[in-house]
Subunit: 191 residues, 2 copies
DNA sequence: GACTCTCTTGTACATACGTACTAGTACAGG
DNA sequence: CCTGTACTAGTACGTATGTACAAGAGAGTC
């Protein structure tokens, strides 16, 4: 007896399983067998749909990159909405720092995704072919914060957020909301 | 013919080789054989001096942690010296941000070390026994910046620096010095 | 119904790994 | 000189891995 036929479904299931496995054990310890078990498919299916393990992992990371891009779009529009609502007054930085903090906390609440991102960063450190993907991820954030403020402030904010992500990955705990908000407020100086 | 006898030398060579290998390929891909080759010792020597691979890696990371602690001490004393020299005036933040930026750039110039640190962070994400070590690393910096300023500023500065480390690891490039300095200056608001 | 093409599933194989082990070698103390 | 201890060096073994492959099953076309 063979399973129901659904090639596209299997593709998706394999990619989703890969995302989970990578988030749990890291790129280097991700194996065909772990993915197959997680996806509920036989081992052979992995190499049928993706010629090599690297292709499978690359596909999963790329898919996560798309999700991250979507998140970034949402961040930008929410922050723009807040900007429009409140004008340019003194309270602006206060309000905006609040919104950004909440967005960060919301993102980090999805631990596997946050960990996957950090995992990608680290893997990019010694896997040159992952570097473009990781850089795109990094620069995407910097561009958003840059568009909302100016180049220098954008760099500062993005760097701070990257630090928050790193800390969250290491400790597994949520960042201190008020301290984070205060830090963002100090950086958010519109030129 | 056997090699010259120097047990302590071998221990050190093994730890040093482990640091290099981990920095290059990551914790998960570090193997006895790679370490032995790098250290120029036969395979059997690795398990003779360190019962398991994890012991060897843990030893190497701990040693690196000590080096990081020493670096932090140096950072603190240099920043304190700068503080003492310049008083509390308006130029203080300017001068201190300059000094800290240079310290960061200097640290990141030693790429293998910086990469090892980030490698540890990431590995800690899914290896609970590494978490204490990584946290100590993280908190060490935060304590130093906290002592130099105040708790909130310390958090903000340390987080920014962590972000800089992450970015440097991913891109392999030095951070933009002037933008980084400006960001530090904005955060360095003495209470 | 026969053919074919796509997909499924299980197994096989070469390789690399962690670690254990054996045999030998230098140097200490008697 | 002899003996035990600490170290060296090479090899062996069981396991897990990436990937290849063979045998089959479902669905569409004639």
């Amino acid at each position: 007896m063979t399973s129901s036929r659904d090639p596209e479904g299997r593709r998706r299931a394999l990619l989703a399983a890969t995302v989970e496995v990578v988030a749990e054990v890291g790129v280097a310890r991700t194996t065909h067998r772990a993915i197959a078990t997680r996806a509920g498919v036989p081992l052979g299916a992995t190499t049928y749909y993706f010629p090599t393990l690297n292709d499978l992992i690359a596909g999963a990371l790329e898919q996560s990159g798309d999700a991250w891009d979507a998140d970034l779009k949402r961040w930008e529009s929410e922050l723009r909405a807040a900007q429009a609502e409140i004008g340019e007054g003194d309270h602006a930085a206060r309000k905006l720092s609040d919104v950004l903090t909440q967005l960060i906390l919301g993102y980090l609440a999805d631990q596997p995704r946050a960990r996957l991102e950090c995992e990608l960063y680290l893997a990019a450190g010694h896997t040159p072919e992952l570097r473009p993907l990781a850089t795109r991820w990094l620069l995407g954030l910097r561009e958003v914060t840059g568009r909302l403020t100016d180049k220098n402030t954008g760099y500062a904010l993005a760097t701070l957020v990257d630090g928050v992500f790193l800390q969250a990955t290491v400790t597994g705990e949520a960042p201190p909301a008020e301290q984070l908000r205060a830090a963002i407020e100090r950086l958010w100086v519109t030129a």
